[in-house]
Symmetry: C2
Subunit: 378 residues, 2 copies
């Protein structure tokens, strides 16, 4: 499209042309042999992308939010304790979702732009018995990155029966996640972030341990559509090359997912992680050069998938967003209700990060530079 | 695609090229002004297609199954009575979904291929107080059509407080439905049927009366993703031309939905209903000519969106499906667990029905004729 503006928000991200092409595949039966093969491939590829050879992928119509329901409804029984490691509004919302399914939620929090310390989490974990701990890997509202590896080590040490759920919506397939090696039980995401597929898929991989916990529930979950029990045989059948029906799978989105995940694995996840670090560094260095302050309090807690940047003093947020848009670049405003007028967000995921030759990051940097100059801030 | 086989199953159906083109729209922010307009249009168009000017559309990532959860979770409280008018396995499954949310489900049933009588339904309605009655308009497993207009009249007469929910998955935008005029409270569907959009959208329109019932619940629903309360402000905001966030909307699917619904309204719903009747009649007449018996016991209870056909005696189902596939036509096997080896199903919806010049119905008829001849059955 001639008038297409570069979509540099923290999802939906820019998509590869072959992924978009798969989106317009003509009508295909969800039990067509070619689709069964593709769905099976997507399930197998998800295990590779998540670095979770022993995990069980779930791929269904929905969004990242639906994966919260799946986690909460299947793994938490009414009255059980859940600990939420909160670094922004996605932590608040996940906590609300867990409560809806009867979870008794405690939260460890940090100031805006920071992450809770391991000591805080350890104290909480020792205070009572938690069925589940949830961590937002990258809170899309703040651009803050939690150290899930360290949190997982801590949980395994001090509360080994607590299941570990990672909200990886703005991180899976970009930030380093080694699901099996780190002993994570649930890693959730959505298609429109670093997965590189238009929005419409809820994606998660679940450990065998968590599947067992769900299978051994005292009472069935209060959900039909988000039930592991309904979807597990579907995923197992398609992976085994057989059709099965619970709800019609989103054929075109799953074909697009197969294309995208295949592209990742051609390069390998290690390279993909490294390239996201590289792209993020390049963009953050430019921000520093322009005298812009980012929301995360230090580099260690800053996500590689997006950057949340405070507006320069005296600048109305709308002015920067507008001039970037006029330069053909779409970025996102702030999202945290207490701070949303003070900062904006730039996503740098998927092709924009792993194919620097496309010049997406360069274009944002240059548009931002021009915008700041025109506002007299550079 | 050169090797594309005509997809004549009861969904996914064949799609219009402009709908498919919208599916591959490049990355677009869910708060982009152009998308806000399109989403608002889709919401307004849904009211027109459903003939429900006073209704409230919900358009979200999911499938038809998710609309069951939304209906059950928001409109039924634990312990309340629900009456399911059952004409096939989709009735069985909806009943199961209602039970998951605490509904006490009674069912009125008919023999395979028939619908329960109004007298049966009336007796049930008078036996106790029902919060909700559900009717599968067209059961995709049997090709049977319920007379929702008559059922609605009956309910309004003998049990006026009972909410009326229509599972319109294989009927909305093809079978005659006058939601406002007939006083229906919920009319559900999915994108991949007569709506003419690839699978991935859960679609429903809810009456103001049902929204009130949901708003006045004694206890909140045990769902987060399927909660009316979460989605209602989103739908209202987008319709009013403002962005709002609960979960990322499936941008490309919604753009495709706008294209498809727009096409319907150019022709008008009356013509669209009539053309589906016409296409169905043409196909069923051919079946009769070939000596094939259809599953519905008479024409009055036969759907216009698909035809379920018994295999001729002595013919293995696989033989017909295989020879049709070799002729470039994909149809579906039986789905009802007790009868699935005895019949097959042919969908005739969307462009295949309303654009006879495409020759889709002719191609199926001719492929079926050749198949029967080669099997010595014609």
């Amino acid at each position: 499209m001639a008038d297409h503006k570069l979509c540099m928000i923290p999802g939906p991200v820019e998509f590869d042309p072959l992924v978009l092409k798969a989106m317009s595949t003509p009508a295909t039966s969800h039990v067509d042999p070619s689709f069964i093969t593709s769905f099976g491939n997507a399930i197998r590829l998800a295990k590779q992308v998540w670095l979770a050879p022993s995990g069980q992928p779930f791929i269904l119509s929905g969004s990242g939010t639906l994966t919260w329901d799946m986690t909460a409804a299947n793994l938490v029984e009414p009255g059980e304790n859940v600990l939420v490691v909160n670094t922004g509004i996605f932590g608040d919302w996940f906590a609300e979702c867990l409560s809806v399914y009867g979870g008794k939620v405690d939260q460890v929090r940090a100031a805006f732009g920071d992450i809770p310390t391991l000591a805080q989490i350890e104290t909480a974990l020792k205070s009572k018995s938690y069925k589940l701990i949830t961590v937002t890997h990258v809170d899309t509202s703040s651009g803050v990155l939690n150290d899930i590896k360290a949190v997982a080590e801590l949980v395994h040490r001090v509360s080994p029966n607590t299941l570990i759920a990672l909200d990886g919506v703005c991180s899976v397939a970009a930030e380093e996640i080694r699901m099996d090696e780190w002993g994570l039980d649930v890693v959730m995401t959505a298609s429109q972030k670093a997965i590189g597929v238009p929005p419409g898929l809820a994606l998660m991989v679940v450990s065998q341990r968590a599947l067992q916990v769900a299978a051994n529930r005292k009472a069935p979950p209060t959900t039909y559509f988000a039930s592991f029990k309904k979807w597990l045989p579907i995923m197992q059948k398609y992976e085994a090359g057989q059709p099965s029906y619970f709800a019609t799978p989103p054929v075109q989105l799953i074909l697009a997912l197969e294309v995208s995940l295949n592209q990742f694995m051609k390069e390998g996840m290690e390279k993909r992680f490294a390239k996201h670090v590289e792209a993020s560094k390049k963009f953050k260095q430019a921000c520093a050069r322009f005298g812009l302050k980012i929301v995360p309090v230090n580099d260690k807690v800053a996500a590689n998938t997006l950057t949340a940047i405070y507006y320069p003093e005296g600048v109305q947020g709308g002015e920067i967003l507008k001039s970037l848009s006029q330069a053909g670049v779409v970025v996102a405003g702030g999202l945290h209700p207490e701070h949303n007028t003070k900062y904006f967000r730039v996503g740098h995921m998927n092709v924009s990060a792993v194919e620097p030759e496309l010049g997406h990051i360069d274009k944002v940097i240059s548009a931002l530079e021009n915008s700041l100059k025109s506002l007299g801030k550079l």
